[in-house]
Symmetry: C2
Subunit: 265 residues, 2 copies
Protein backbone atom coordinates (compact mmCIF):
# COMPACT_ATOMS: atom_id res chain seq x y z
CA UNK A 1 0.00 0.00 0.00
CA UNK A 2 1.22 3.45 -0.87
CA UNK A 3 1.72 5.39 2.31
CA UNK A 4 4.04 8.06 1.04
CA UNK A 5 1.37 10.74 0.98
CA UNK A 6 0.80 12.18 4.41
CA UNK A 7 -2.74 11.72 5.57
CA UNK A 8 -2.49 13.67 8.81
CA UNK A 9 -5.00 16.46 9.33
CA UNK A 10 -2.16 18.79 10.22
CA UNK A 11 -1.08 18.97 6.61
CA UNK A 12 -4.40 20.37 5.40
CA UNK A 13 -2.86 23.68 4.36
CA UNK A 14 -0.70 21.82 1.85
CA UNK A 15 -3.43 19.44 0.77
CA UNK A 16 -5.97 22.08 -0.26
CA UNK A 17 -5.36 23.78 -3.60
CA UNK A 18 -5.10 27.61 -3.40
CA UNK A 19 -8.16 27.94 -5.66
CA UNK A 20 -10.32 25.44 -3.74
CA UNK A 21 -13.79 27.00 -3.35
CA UNK A 22 -13.91 26.17 0.34
CA UNK A 23 -10.21 26.74 1.21
CA UNK A 24 -10.90 29.48 3.79
CA UNK A 25 -13.46 27.38 5.59
CA UNK A 26 -11.14 24.34 5.56
CA UNK A 27 -8.26 26.37 7.02
CA UNK A 28 -10.53 27.54 9.85
CA UNK A 29 -11.25 23.88 10.49
CA UNK A 30 -7.52 23.34 10.81
CA UNK A 31 -7.32 26.02 13.51
CA UNK A 32 -10.09 24.24 15.39
CA UNK A 33 -8.36 20.88 15.12
CA UNK A 34 -5.25 22.52 16.61
CA UNK A 35 -7.40 23.94 19.41
CA UNK A 36 -8.76 20.46 20.08
CA UNK A 37 -5.23 19.13 20.49
CA UNK A 38 -4.41 22.02 22.85
CA UNK A 39 -7.46 21.31 25.03
CA UNK A 40 -8.96 24.69 24.18
CA UNK A 41 -11.82 23.02 22.35
CA UNK A 42 -13.86 19.89 23.10
CA UNK A 43 -15.11 17.52 20.39
CA UNK A 44 -18.58 19.01 20.91
CA UNK A 45 -17.13 22.39 20.01
CA UNK A 46 -16.19 20.95 16.62
CA UNK A 47 -19.72 19.66 16.04
CA UNK A 48 -21.12 23.06 17.05
CA UNK A 49 -18.77 24.65 14.54
CA UNK A 50 -20.07 22.33 11.84
CA UNK A 51 -23.64 23.43 12.54
CA UNK A 52 -22.51 27.01 12.25
CA UNK A 53 -20.70 26.30 8.97
CA UNK A 54 -23.96 25.11 7.49
CA UNK A 55 -25.82 28.30 8.41
CA UNK A 56 -22.87 30.45 7.32
CA UNK A 57 -23.02 28.77 3.93
CA UNK A 58 -26.71 29.67 3.71
CA UNK A 59 -25.82 33.29 4.48
CA UNK A 60 -23.32 33.24 1.61
CA UNK A 61 -20.43 33.40 4.12
CA UNK A 62 -20.99 37.17 4.28
CA UNK A 63 -22.21 39.57 6.95
CA UNK A 64 -25.71 40.40 5.78
CA UNK A 65 -27.69 43.59 6.47
CA UNK A 66 -29.59 42.18 9.44
CA UNK A 67 -26.25 41.35 11.09
CA UNK A 68 -24.84 44.81 10.35
CA UNK A 69 -27.84 46.43 12.05
CA UNK A 70 -27.45 44.17 15.08
CA UNK A 71 -23.73 44.96 15.24
CA UNK A 72 -24.54 48.68 15.31
CA UNK A 73 -27.06 48.29 18.14
CA UNK A 74 -24.65 46.01 20.00
CA UNK A 75 -21.82 48.52 19.69
CA UNK A 76 -24.01 51.35 21.02
CA UNK A 77 -25.15 49.11 23.90
CA UNK A 78 -21.57 48.19 24.81
CA UNK A 79 -20.51 51.86 24.74
CA UNK A 80 -23.31 52.76 27.18
CA UNK A 81 -22.69 49.77 29.46
CA UNK A 82 -21.32 50.29 32.98
CA UNK A 83 -19.97 46.77 33.50
CA UNK A 84 -19.76 45.02 30.17
CA UNK A 85 -18.35 41.49 30.12
CA UNK A 86 -17.30 39.35 27.18
CA UNK A 87 -18.00 35.70 27.94
CA UNK A 88 -15.33 33.57 26.25
CA UNK A 89 -15.61 29.89 25.31
CA UNK A 90 -13.33 27.48 23.46
CA UNK A 91 -14.49 28.29 19.95
CA UNK A 92 -14.08 32.03 20.49
CA UNK A 93 -10.60 31.60 21.96
CA UNK A 94 -9.61 29.35 19.06
CA UNK A 95 -10.77 31.69 16.31
CA UNK A 96 -10.65 35.34 17.44
CA UNK A 97 -8.48 35.72 20.59
CA UNK A 98 -6.68 38.91 19.51
CA UNK A 99 -9.89 40.53 18.32
CA UNK A 100 -11.74 39.77 21.56
CA UNK A 101 -9.01 41.49 23.55
CA UNK A 102 -8.97 44.50 21.23
CA UNK A 103 -12.74 44.85 21.59
CA UNK A 104 -12.58 44.42 25.39
CA UNK A 105 -9.94 47.16 25.62
CA UNK A 106 -11.98 49.54 23.46
CA UNK A 107 -15.15 49.27 25.56
CA UNK A 108 -13.51 48.64 28.93
CA UNK A 109 -15.04 45.21 29.15
CA UNK A 110 -13.85 42.32 31.26
CA UNK A 111 -13.04 38.96 29.71
CA UNK A 112 -14.50 35.97 31.50
CA UNK A 113 -14.12 32.32 30.57
CA UNK A 114 -17.33 30.32 30.84
CA UNK A 115 -17.54 26.72 29.68
CA UNK A 116 -20.14 23.99 29.43
CA UNK A 117 -17.44 21.32 29.59
CA UNK A 118 -15.57 23.00 32.41
CA UNK A 119 -12.29 21.53 33.63
CA UNK A 120 -9.20 23.02 35.26
CA UNK A 121 -7.19 21.93 32.26
CA UNK A 122 -9.41 23.68 29.71
CA UNK A 123 -9.74 26.82 31.83
CA UNK A 124 -5.96 27.07 31.99
CA UNK A 125 -5.50 26.34 28.28
CA UNK A 126 -7.99 29.04 27.28
CA UNK A 127 -6.61 31.54 29.78
CA UNK A 128 -3.14 30.90 28.32
CA UNK A 129 -4.38 31.64 24.81
CA UNK A 130 -5.89 34.94 25.99
CA UNK A 131 -2.80 35.97 27.99
CA UNK A 132 -0.52 35.07 25.06
CA UNK A 133 -2.65 37.32 22.87
CA UNK A 134 -2.32 40.29 25.23
CA UNK A 135 -5.09 40.00 27.84
CA UNK A 136 -4.13 41.51 31.19
CA UNK A 137 -6.99 40.10 33.25
CA UNK A 138 -9.04 36.96 32.65
CA UNK A 139 -11.94 36.25 34.99
CA UNK A 140 -13.70 32.96 35.68
CA UNK A 141 -10.60 30.92 36.47
CA UNK A 142 -8.76 31.85 39.69
CA UNK A 143 -11.04 34.58 41.04
CA UNK A 144 -14.05 34.20 43.30
CA UNK A 145 -16.98 32.46 41.66
CA UNK A 146 -20.68 32.33 42.41
CA UNK A 147 -23.60 30.60 40.68
CA UNK A 148 -26.39 31.84 38.44
CA UNK A 149 -29.84 30.91 39.76
CA UNK A 150 -31.94 28.34 37.91
CA UNK A 151 -29.05 26.94 35.93
CA UNK A 152 -27.69 23.46 36.47
CA UNK A 153 -24.89 23.03 33.97
CA UNK A 154 -21.28 24.01 34.64
CA UNK A 155 -22.15 27.22 32.84
CA UNK A 156 -23.79 28.40 36.09
CA UNK A 157 -20.39 29.25 37.57
CA UNK A 158 -19.62 32.90 37.02
CA UNK A 159 -17.17 35.41 38.43
CA UNK A 160 -18.41 37.61 41.28
CA UNK A 161 -16.61 40.54 39.67
CA UNK A 162 -17.55 39.65 36.12
CA UNK A 163 -20.75 38.23 34.67
CA UNK A 164 -22.51 38.20 38.06
CA UNK A 165 -22.46 42.00 38.32
CA UNK A 166 -22.42 42.78 34.58
CA UNK A 167 -25.15 44.91 33.04
CA UNK A 168 -24.28 43.82 29.49
CA UNK A 169 -22.92 40.40 28.47
CA UNK A 170 -21.56 39.65 25.01
CA UNK A 171 -21.52 35.94 24.22
CA UNK A 172 -21.30 33.60 21.23
CA UNK A 173 -22.15 29.96 20.51
CA UNK A 174 -23.94 29.87 23.86
CA UNK A 175 -26.44 27.28 25.09
CA UNK A 176 -30.00 28.52 25.37
CA UNK A 177 -30.35 27.72 29.08
CA UNK A 178 -27.73 30.19 30.15
CA UNK A 179 -28.81 32.92 27.78
CA UNK A 180 -32.33 32.66 29.21
CA UNK A 181 -30.97 32.67 32.78
CA UNK A 182 -28.88 35.80 32.12
CA UNK A 183 -31.86 37.61 30.58
CA UNK A 184 -33.96 36.68 33.63
CA UNK A 185 -31.29 38.32 35.79
CA UNK A 186 -32.06 41.54 33.86
CA UNK A 187 -28.77 41.61 32.03
CA UNK A 188 -28.73 42.81 28.48
CA UNK A 189 -27.47 39.92 26.39
CA UNK A 190 -25.77 40.41 23.03
CA UNK A 191 -25.46 37.05 21.26
CA UNK A 192 -23.45 36.14 18.19
CA UNK A 193 -25.07 33.02 16.77
CA UNK A 194 -25.26 31.76 13.19
CA UNK A 195 -28.45 29.86 13.95
CA UNK A 196 -31.32 32.36 14.04
CA UNK A 197 -33.60 29.63 15.37
CA UNK A 198 -31.58 28.75 18.48
CA UNK A 199 -32.96 29.49 21.93
CA UNK A 200 -30.03 31.84 22.46
CA UNK A 201 -30.93 33.80 19.32
CA UNK A 202 -34.54 34.08 20.43
CA UNK A 203 -33.80 34.98 24.06
CA UNK A 204 -31.03 37.53 23.50
CA UNK A 205 -31.73 41.25 23.49
CA UNK A 206 -29.54 41.73 20.45
CA UNK A 207 -28.86 38.80 18.13
CA UNK A 208 -26.00 39.07 15.67
CA UNK A 209 -26.64 36.32 13.13
CA UNK A 210 -23.10 36.12 11.79
CA UNK A 211 -19.81 34.26 12.01
CA UNK A 212 -17.64 35.44 14.93
CA UNK A 213 -14.64 35.68 12.62
CA UNK A 214 -16.42 38.51 10.79
CA UNK A 215 -18.67 39.90 13.54
CA UNK A 216 -15.98 40.69 16.13
CA UNK A 217 -13.76 42.69 13.71
CA UNK A 218 -16.87 44.56 12.50
CA UNK A 219 -17.81 45.39 16.09
CA UNK A 220 -14.33 46.81 16.69
CA UNK A 221 -14.80 48.99 13.61
CA UNK A 222 -18.30 50.09 14.64
CA UNK A 223 -17.30 50.88 18.24
CA UNK A 224 -14.48 53.05 16.91
CA UNK A 225 -17.00 54.84 14.72
CA UNK A 226 -19.59 55.36 17.49
CA UNK A 227 -17.29 56.20 20.38
CA UNK A 228 -17.60 59.93 19.74
CA UNK A 229 -21.40 59.83 19.70
CA UNK A 230 -23.11 61.29 22.77
CA UNK A 231 -25.39 59.29 25.06
CA UNK A 232 -28.53 60.58 23.35
CA UNK A 233 -27.36 59.50 19.93
CA UNK A 234 -26.36 56.04 21.18
CA UNK A 235 -29.72 55.62 22.95
CA UNK A 236 -31.51 56.52 19.74
CA UNK A 237 -29.72 53.73 17.87
CA UNK A 238 -30.78 51.26 20.55
CA UNK A 239 -34.39 52.50 20.67
CA UNK A 240 -34.76 52.17 16.91
CA UNK A 241 -33.49 48.61 16.97
CA UNK A 242 -36.02 45.75 16.73
CA UNK A 243 -34.46 42.34 17.41
CA UNK A 244 -37.51 40.37 16.35
CA UNK A 245 -37.46 42.06 12.97
CA UNK A 246 -33.76 41.27 12.60
CA UNK A 247 -34.33 37.56 13.26
CA UNK A 248 -37.25 37.56 10.83
CA UNK A 249 -35.06 39.20 8.19
CA UNK A 250 -32.45 36.47 8.63
CA UNK A 251 -35.09 33.75 8.22
CA UNK A 252 -36.47 35.42 5.11
CA UNK A 253 -32.96 35.62 3.73
CA UNK A 254 -32.43 31.87 4.05
CA UNK A 255 -35.85 31.09 2.63
CA UNK A 256 -34.98 33.26 -0.37
CA UNK A 257 -31.62 31.53 -0.78
CA UNK A 258 -33.31 28.16 -1.11
CA UNK A 259 -35.66 29.54 -3.72
CA UNK A 260 -32.60 30.82 -5.60
CA UNK A 261 -30.88 27.46 -5.31
CA UNK A 262 -34.01 25.77 -6.69
CA UNK A 263 -34.03 28.03 -9.72
CA UNK A 264 -30.33 27.41 -10.39
CA UNK A 265 -30.73 23.63 -10.63
Amino acid sequence: MDNTQSSKEGSLRDLIPINHPRRESLLIREKLVEALKDNVLTPSGLIAHGRGECFDYLFGEKTQDFAKKAIEAASATLLLAKNPVISVNGNMAALVPKELIELANLINAKLEINLFYRSEERLKAIKNVLIKNGAKEVLGVDDELTTIPELFSERRKVSKNGIFIADVVLLALEDGDRTEALVKMNKKVIAIDLNPLSRTSKAANITIVDNIIRAIPLMIQKVNELKNYNTGQLREIIENYDNKKIILDSLKFISGRFQEFSLSL
Copy 2:
Protein backbone atom coordinates in the same frame (compact mmCIF):
# COMPACT_ATOMS: atom_id res chain seq x y z
CA MET B 1 -13.53 26.06 43.07
CA ASP B 2 -16.19 23.35 43.02
CA ASN B 3 -14.91 20.48 40.98
CA THR B 4 -17.15 17.76 42.27
CA GLN B 5 -19.36 17.70 39.19
CA SER B 6 -17.76 15.71 36.41
CA SER B 7 -17.19 17.77 33.33
CA LYS B 8 -15.96 14.99 31.07
CA GLU B 9 -17.78 14.54 27.80
CA GLY B 10 -18.10 10.83 28.57
CA SER B 11 -20.76 11.57 31.16
CA LEU B 12 -23.13 13.20 28.69
CA ARG B 13 -25.76 10.48 29.06
CA ASP B 14 -26.10 11.35 32.74
CA LEU B 15 -25.88 15.07 32.20
CA ILE B 16 -28.78 15.36 29.74
CA PRO B 17 -32.27 15.22 31.24
CA ILE B 18 -34.52 12.47 29.79
CA ASN B 19 -36.96 15.09 28.52
CA HIS B 20 -34.31 17.31 26.90
CA PRO B 21 -35.62 18.30 23.46
CA ARG B 22 -32.32 17.40 21.79
CA ARG B 23 -31.40 14.35 23.89
CA GLU B 24 -31.28 11.94 20.93
CA SER B 25 -29.05 14.21 18.91
CA LEU B 26 -26.74 14.76 21.91
CA LEU B 27 -26.42 11.01 22.50
CA ILE B 28 -25.42 10.53 18.86
CA ARG B 29 -22.75 13.14 19.46
CA GLU B 30 -21.51 11.02 22.34
CA LYS B 31 -21.12 8.03 20.00
CA LEU B 32 -19.07 10.19 17.66
CA VAL B 33 -16.85 11.44 20.46
CA GLU B 34 -16.19 7.79 21.38
CA ALA B 35 -15.37 7.06 17.74
CA LEU B 36 -12.91 9.97 17.77
CA LYS B 37 -11.13 8.45 20.76
CA ASP B 38 -11.02 5.07 19.00
CA ASN B 39 -9.48 6.60 15.85
CA VAL B 40 -12.51 5.63 13.80
CA LEU B 41 -13.36 9.28 13.26
CA THR B 42 -11.18 12.34 12.59
CA PRO B 43 -11.95 15.79 14.00
CA SER B 44 -13.11 16.78 10.51
CA GLY B 45 -15.67 13.99 10.70
CA LEU B 46 -17.14 15.72 13.74
CA ILE B 47 -17.41 19.03 11.90
CA ALA B 48 -19.03 17.25 8.95
CA HIS B 49 -21.51 15.73 11.38
CA GLY B 50 -22.32 19.18 12.73
CA ARG B 51 -23.12 20.43 9.23
CA GLY B 52 -25.40 17.45 8.80
CA GLU B 53 -27.10 18.12 12.14
CA CYS B 54 -28.05 21.56 10.93
CA PHE B 55 -29.71 20.25 7.76
CA ASP B 56 -31.36 17.42 9.69
CA TYR B 57 -32.88 19.99 12.01
CA LEU B 58 -34.27 21.81 8.97
CA PHE B 59 -35.84 18.54 7.79
CA GLY B 60 -37.51 18.16 11.18
CA GLU B 61 -35.20 15.21 11.98
CA LYS B 62 -37.56 13.02 9.97
CA THR B 63 -37.30 11.11 6.70
CA GLN B 64 -39.32 13.24 4.33
CA ASP B 65 -41.18 12.10 1.21
CA PHE B 66 -38.38 13.03 -1.19
CA ALA B 67 -36.01 10.78 0.80
CA LYS B 68 -38.51 7.92 0.87
CA LYS B 69 -38.79 8.06 -2.93
CA ALA B 70 -35.01 8.06 -3.31
CA ILE B 71 -34.71 5.13 -0.90
CA GLU B 72 -37.16 3.16 -3.04
CA ALA B 73 -35.23 3.85 -6.26
CA ALA B 74 -31.95 3.09 -4.48
CA SER B 75 -33.26 -0.23 -3.19
CA ALA B 76 -34.43 -1.25 -6.67
CA THR B 77 -31.05 -0.23 -8.12
CA LEU B 78 -29.16 -2.25 -5.52
CA LEU B 79 -31.33 -5.31 -6.14
CA LEU B 80 -30.58 -5.13 -9.88
CA ALA B 81 -26.84 -4.48 -9.39
CA LYS B 82 -24.27 -7.10 -10.41
CA ASN B 83 -21.41 -5.84 -8.24
CA PRO B 84 -22.77 -3.46 -5.64
CA VAL B 85 -20.32 -1.99 -3.13
CA ILE B 86 -21.01 -0.04 0.05
CA SER B 87 -18.25 2.50 0.60
CA VAL B 88 -17.70 2.92 4.35
CA ASN B 89 -16.13 5.91 6.10
CA GLY B 90 -15.60 6.81 9.76
CA ASN B 91 -18.97 8.45 10.35
CA MET B 92 -20.85 5.49 8.87
CA ALA B 93 -18.84 2.98 10.93
CA ALA B 94 -19.44 5.03 14.08
CA LEU B 95 -23.19 5.33 13.67
CA VAL B 96 -24.63 2.38 11.71
CA PRO B 97 -22.10 -0.51 11.58
CA LYS B 98 -24.62 -3.32 12.23
CA GLU B 99 -27.11 -1.89 9.77
CA LEU B 100 -24.51 -1.56 6.99
CA ILE B 101 -23.61 -5.21 7.34
CA GLU B 102 -27.26 -6.29 7.35
CA LEU B 103 -27.88 -4.30 4.18
CA ALA B 104 -24.72 -5.66 2.51
CA ASN B 105 -25.81 -9.23 3.27
CA LEU B 106 -29.30 -8.64 1.89
CA ILE B 107 -28.13 -7.30 -1.48
CA ASN B 108 -24.89 -9.31 -1.73
CA ALA B 109 -22.82 -6.15 -1.62
CA LYS B 110 -19.18 -5.84 -0.65
CA LEU B 111 -18.09 -3.50 2.12
CA GLU B 112 -15.09 -1.32 1.30
CA ILE B 113 -13.43 1.24 3.54
CA ASN B 114 -12.54 4.48 1.78
CA LEU B 115 -11.20 7.47 3.68
CA PHE B 116 -10.13 11.03 2.94
CA TYR B 117 -7.84 11.02 5.97
CA ARG B 118 -6.43 7.59 5.25
CA SER B 119 -4.00 5.99 7.68
CA GLU B 120 -3.16 2.39 8.59
CA GLU B 121 -4.39 3.08 12.11
CA ARG B 122 -7.78 4.35 11.03
CA LEU B 123 -8.24 1.62 8.43
CA LYS B 124 -7.59 -1.00 11.10
CA ALA B 125 -9.85 0.70 13.65
CA ILE B 126 -12.77 0.88 11.19
CA LYS B 127 -12.19 -2.66 9.94
CA ASN B 128 -12.27 -3.81 13.58
CA VAL B 129 -15.61 -2.11 14.14
CA LEU B 130 -17.08 -3.83 11.08
CA ILE B 131 -15.66 -7.25 11.96
CA LYS B 132 -16.90 -6.92 15.55
CA ASN B 133 -20.36 -6.17 14.17
CA GLY B 134 -20.39 -9.28 12.01
CA ALA B 135 -18.73 -8.41 8.69
CA LYS B 136 -17.00 -11.39 7.06
CA GLU B 137 -15.06 -9.49 4.42
CA VAL B 138 -13.89 -5.87 4.43
CA LEU B 139 -12.18 -4.52 1.31
CA GLY B 140 -9.89 -1.49 0.96
CA VAL B 141 -7.47 -2.43 3.72
CA ASP B 142 -5.29 -5.49 3.07
CA ASP B 143 -6.40 -6.41 -0.45
CA GLU B 144 -4.99 -5.19 -3.74
CA LEU B 145 -5.68 -1.51 -4.41
CA THR B 146 -5.68 0.61 -7.51
CA THR B 147 -6.43 4.29 -8.14
CA ILE B 148 -9.40 6.13 -9.60
CA PRO B 149 -8.44 8.38 -12.52
CA GLU B 150 -8.59 12.17 -12.11
CA LEU B 151 -8.69 12.06 -8.34
CA PHE B 152 -5.86 13.32 -6.17
CA SER B 153 -6.97 12.84 -2.59
CA GLU B 154 -6.43 9.65 -0.62
CA ARG B 155 -9.96 8.78 -1.63
CA ARG B 156 -8.56 7.72 -5.01
CA LYS B 157 -7.35 4.43 -3.55
CA VAL B 158 -9.93 1.73 -4.17
CA SER B 159 -10.01 -2.04 -4.06
CA LYS B 160 -9.47 -3.88 -7.36
CA ASN B 161 -12.19 -6.32 -6.37
CA GLY B 162 -14.48 -3.69 -4.88
CA ILE B 163 -15.26 -0.15 -5.98
CA PHE B 164 -12.99 -0.42 -9.04
CA ILE B 165 -15.20 -3.05 -10.67
CA ALA B 166 -18.50 -2.09 -9.02
CA ASP B 167 -21.51 -1.16 -11.14
CA VAL B 168 -23.34 0.45 -8.22
CA VAL B 169 -21.71 2.27 -5.28
CA LEU B 170 -23.60 3.31 -2.17
CA LEU B 171 -21.83 6.06 -0.23
CA ALA B 172 -22.57 8.69 2.41
CA LEU B 173 -20.97 11.94 3.60
CA GLU B 174 -18.73 11.78 0.57
CA ASP B 175 -16.61 14.57 -0.92
CA GLY B 176 -17.80 15.88 -4.26
CA ASP B 177 -14.57 15.12 -6.11
CA ARG B 178 -14.84 11.39 -5.69
CA THR B 179 -18.56 11.24 -6.38
CA GLU B 180 -17.95 13.05 -9.67
CA ALA B 181 -15.02 10.73 -10.48
CA LEU B 182 -17.11 7.61 -9.83
CA VAL B 183 -19.96 8.91 -12.00
CA LYS B 184 -17.44 9.61 -14.80
CA MET B 185 -16.37 5.96 -14.54
CA ASN B 186 -19.99 5.11 -15.42
CA LYS B 187 -20.82 3.72 -12.03
CA LYS B 188 -24.27 4.33 -10.65
CA VAL B 189 -23.79 6.30 -7.46
CA ILE B 190 -26.33 6.27 -4.64
CA ALA B 191 -25.47 9.01 -2.13
CA ILE B 192 -26.86 9.60 1.34
CA ASP B 193 -26.24 13.26 2.11
CA LEU B 194 -28.21 15.65 4.32
CA ASN B 195 -26.99 18.62 2.28
CA PRO B 196 -29.02 18.73 -0.95
CA LEU B 197 -26.70 21.45 -2.25
CA SER B 198 -23.45 19.50 -1.98
CA ARG B 199 -21.55 18.49 -5.10
CA THR B 200 -22.10 14.87 -4.11
CA SER B 201 -25.87 15.41 -3.96
CA LYS B 202 -25.87 17.05 -7.37
CA ALA B 203 -23.55 14.52 -9.04
CA ALA B 204 -25.08 11.30 -7.68
CA ASN B 205 -27.58 9.29 -9.72
CA ILE B 206 -29.79 8.82 -6.68
CA THR B 207 -29.56 11.26 -3.78
CA ILE B 208 -31.07 10.27 -0.47
CA VAL B 209 -31.37 13.53 1.47
CA ASP B 210 -31.62 11.99 4.91
CA ASN B 211 -29.69 11.06 8.03
CA ILE B 212 -27.83 7.72 7.71
CA ILE B 213 -29.20 6.61 11.06
CA ARG B 214 -32.69 6.61 9.53
CA ALA B 215 -31.88 5.99 5.85
CA ILE B 216 -29.95 2.71 6.21
CA PRO B 217 -32.65 0.98 8.33
CA LEU B 218 -35.29 2.19 5.87
CA MET B 219 -33.28 0.78 2.97
CA ILE B 220 -33.11 -2.59 4.72
CA GLN B 221 -36.89 -2.51 5.07
CA LYS B 222 -37.44 -1.45 1.45
CA VAL B 223 -35.04 -4.06 0.03
CA ASN B 224 -36.92 -6.73 1.97
CA GLU B 225 -40.15 -5.43 0.48
CA LEU B 226 -38.85 -5.26 -3.11
CA LYS B 227 -36.78 -8.43 -3.21
CA ASN B 228 -39.69 -10.44 -4.59
CA TYR B 229 -40.33 -7.96 -7.42
CA ASN B 230 -39.26 -9.08 -10.88
CA THR B 231 -36.68 -7.27 -12.98
CA GLY B 232 -39.33 -5.43 -14.99
CA GLN B 233 -41.03 -4.09 -11.89
CA LEU B 234 -37.72 -2.94 -10.40
CA ARG B 235 -36.72 -1.27 -13.70
CA GLU B 236 -40.03 0.57 -13.74
CA ILE B 237 -39.35 2.05 -10.30
CA ILE B 238 -35.97 3.28 -11.51
CA GLU B 239 -37.32 4.67 -14.79
CA ASN B 240 -40.00 6.65 -12.99
CA TYR B 241 -37.48 8.19 -10.62
CA ASP B 242 -36.29 11.76 -11.28
CA ASN B 243 -33.34 12.76 -9.07
CA LYS B 244 -33.45 16.42 -10.04
CA LYS B 245 -37.05 16.64 -8.92
CA ILE B 246 -36.15 14.96 -5.62
CA ILE B 247 -33.42 17.52 -4.89
CA LEU B 248 -35.78 20.36 -5.86
CA ASP B 249 -38.41 18.96 -3.49
CA SER B 250 -35.89 18.94 -0.65
CA LEU B 251 -34.96 22.58 -1.34
CA LYS B 252 -38.61 23.59 -1.44
CA PHE B 253 -39.15 21.81 1.84
CA ILE B 254 -36.43 23.80 3.59
CA SER B 255 -37.63 27.05 2.07
CA GLY B 256 -41.10 26.29 3.39
CA ARG B 257 -39.71 25.47 6.84
CA PHE B 258 -38.14 28.90 7.10
CA GLN B 259 -41.41 30.52 6.11
CA GLU B 260 -43.09 28.50 8.87
CA PHE B 261 -40.41 29.53 11.37
CA SER B 262 -40.96 33.17 10.41
CA LEU B 263 -44.68 32.91 11.05
CA SER B 264 -44.14 31.25 14.44
CA LEU B 265 -41.99 34.10 15.79
